[in-house]
Amino acid sequence: MNPPAPTSRHRLLRLSSVVALLVMILGAIIMVYPYAYMVGSSLKTRKEFAGDKRSLIPARYQISEHAKHRRGEPSALDWEGADWPLLKNYRDALLYGHVDVFLLNSLLYAVVLTTVQLSINVLAAYAFARMNFRGKNVLFSILLATMMLPPAVLLIPRFIVIRELGLVDSFLGVVLPGFAGAFGVFLLRQFFLNIPSTLEDAARLDGCGTFGVLRHVILPLSKPVLITLGLFTFIAAWNSFIWPLVVLSDQTYYPLTVGLSLFREESGADWPRIFAASVMGSLPLIALFLVAQRYIIGGISLSGLKGQ
């Protein structure tokens, strides 16, 4: 029954926490390395990228190449494009690669999808949580059942409907099927159910109607869950790929993800420029994440959402 002497136990604990820290640092390097590779490659000239696919730093900035150059030996600084400006690939991607349009499209899709989906879900969740009506349980079950259908199965059916509505190659065609999100209704309903009804009663005494209660009582109290859900919807919309790929063939409507896959198909693709576009496509979400980390990480345990 005697526990081991505290000192040895403590030493063991300290040792294991150091080992844990080291493993976590190693893991963090594995997580971050591809990002460093992406940024490094986006700064290279095509020749530099073709010549050395492993290095993180463009040859023209490597100390060893500069040393060679000073010794008068042939070095990367003699290559064509040694005076390539640091961010030229970014500039070119925006000017000649339509990346500015792609980024704007991605933003537009994500903002519209998030706003409309959230509004539709709030209305439905409010009815399911706080109102009585015939068929409520059946209707809610139907909604939940549709949640189970995987997107890969819905791909062709949704394409057929969008095509018959004449919405192929249009802004609306990209966002419309995403407006319905049963998961959001489910999550919001759970949250709304926990709001005390005394608050609702007080608002009603003050003359609030059904919509007034939603606006002045439910919504202000639900800010955190709305922000979390909104962020997850936005992230998923920004990252979505297969649906816009299917529904669009006109480049002017491409979001960044589809635009990038188009670049990849070009023969003799300009990879450093593709990496520059990739960095620009990843940064907005990373920035958003850093600002709103609290809501995203806090929301993960209640979400089954994934950026696909």
């Binding site: 594995i30 997580m31 439905a124 407006f179 992230i235 990252n239 297969i242 990038l260 990843s282």
Partner: protein
């Protein structure tokens, strides 16, 4: 649900509130599923005016057709699913436990490990295409290509699932570990008889979500390999996509394959649920 103001009064206005959501669900889920089933029973593309009713022959063609790649694609998909589940479980749970142990940098680790979850899979696929090319070229060998694609999937999902496990671990009361220690349990016994059983719900959730996601794997294969080399990364979603949108006149066949994929996924999830339900827990 006992806290509603007037439980017996019905409010017809509620239908107005649920109307937008239901209209969309009806059109883009129920009607479209019906249409897709209708298409799957036809050759070519019946809604566009050509093609005739062929009964179940698209299904037959996928299942036993001479040139059918369905089974090959399904086998590849199943292998991808298995590698993903194992990969995610053996990385994210240990990482979560280590993260709790590490004295410093916990929140930094959470942030860094989460980055791949908020980066478009298209971008990750493009970057890893060249990382794989620079280090060992696993994508050019039919023996390793699928494994490489699965590794990318696991790398991408590890941080997200680590956070799920962190949430699960934080809910295990310290008293269980104290009790195990008093009983003289070893570290392994603590893990086996306290951590694992009490994380049961998280493990189930992670497993089911990874299975659902992995069955639909598409982007990595589309961007990195297009199904090659030697069809080693030909997965079902890619086959569906190719037949529906790249090859002419295969919409019915593609729809049939999508329905078969759904059937397989449905059965797998039902089996999972049954297996998980039959296991005992401490709180029962």
């Amino acid at each position: 649900m006992g806290q509603r103001t007037a439980p017996e009064r019905t409010q017809p206005v509620a239908y107005l509130y649920i109307a937008p959501a239901f209209l969309l669900v009806i059109v883009f889920t129920l009607v479209s599923m019906g249409l897709s089933f209708y298409v799957s029973l036809h050759s070519w593309d019946p809604i566009r005016g050509h093609g005739q009713f062929v009964g179940a022959s698209n299904y037959v063609r996928a299942l036993v057709g001479e040139n059918s790649v369905f089974w090959l694609a399904l086998r590849n998909t199943a292998m991808y699913v298995a590698m993903s589940v194992v990969g995610v479980l053996i990385t994210s749970l240990p990482l979560a436990m280590l993260c709790r142990k590490a004295r410093y940098g916990q929140s930094l680790f959470r942030t860094l490990y989460f980055l791949p979850s908020i980066t478009p899979m298209v971008v990750l696929s493009l970057v890893w295409l060249w990382l794989f090319d620079a280090w060992g070229k696993p994508l050019s060998s039919p023996r390793t290509a699928l494994l490489a694609i699965a590794m990318l999937g696991v790398w991408q999902a590890a941080g997200y699932n680590m956070l799920l496990f962190l949430a699960g671990l934080s809910e295990i009361p310290q008293a269980f570990y104290d009790a195990a220690r008093v009983d003289g349990a070893s570290r392994w016994q603590e893990f086996r008889y306290v951590t694992i059983p009490l994380l049961r719900n998280t493990i189930i959730f992670v497993t089911v979500m990874v299975v659902i996601g992995a069955f639909q794997v598409f982007t990595q294969a589309y961007i990195m390999t297009r199904g090659g080399p030697e069809r080693s990364t030909e997965v079902v979603a890619l086959q569906v996509f190719k037949n529906a949108f790249s090859y002419a006149g295969q919409m019915g066949y593609a729809s049939a394959m999508a329905w078969l994929l759904f059937a397989v996924l449905f059965v797998v999830i039902m089996i999972q649920m049954r297996v998980f339900r039959s296991q005992r827990t401490y709180d029962e």
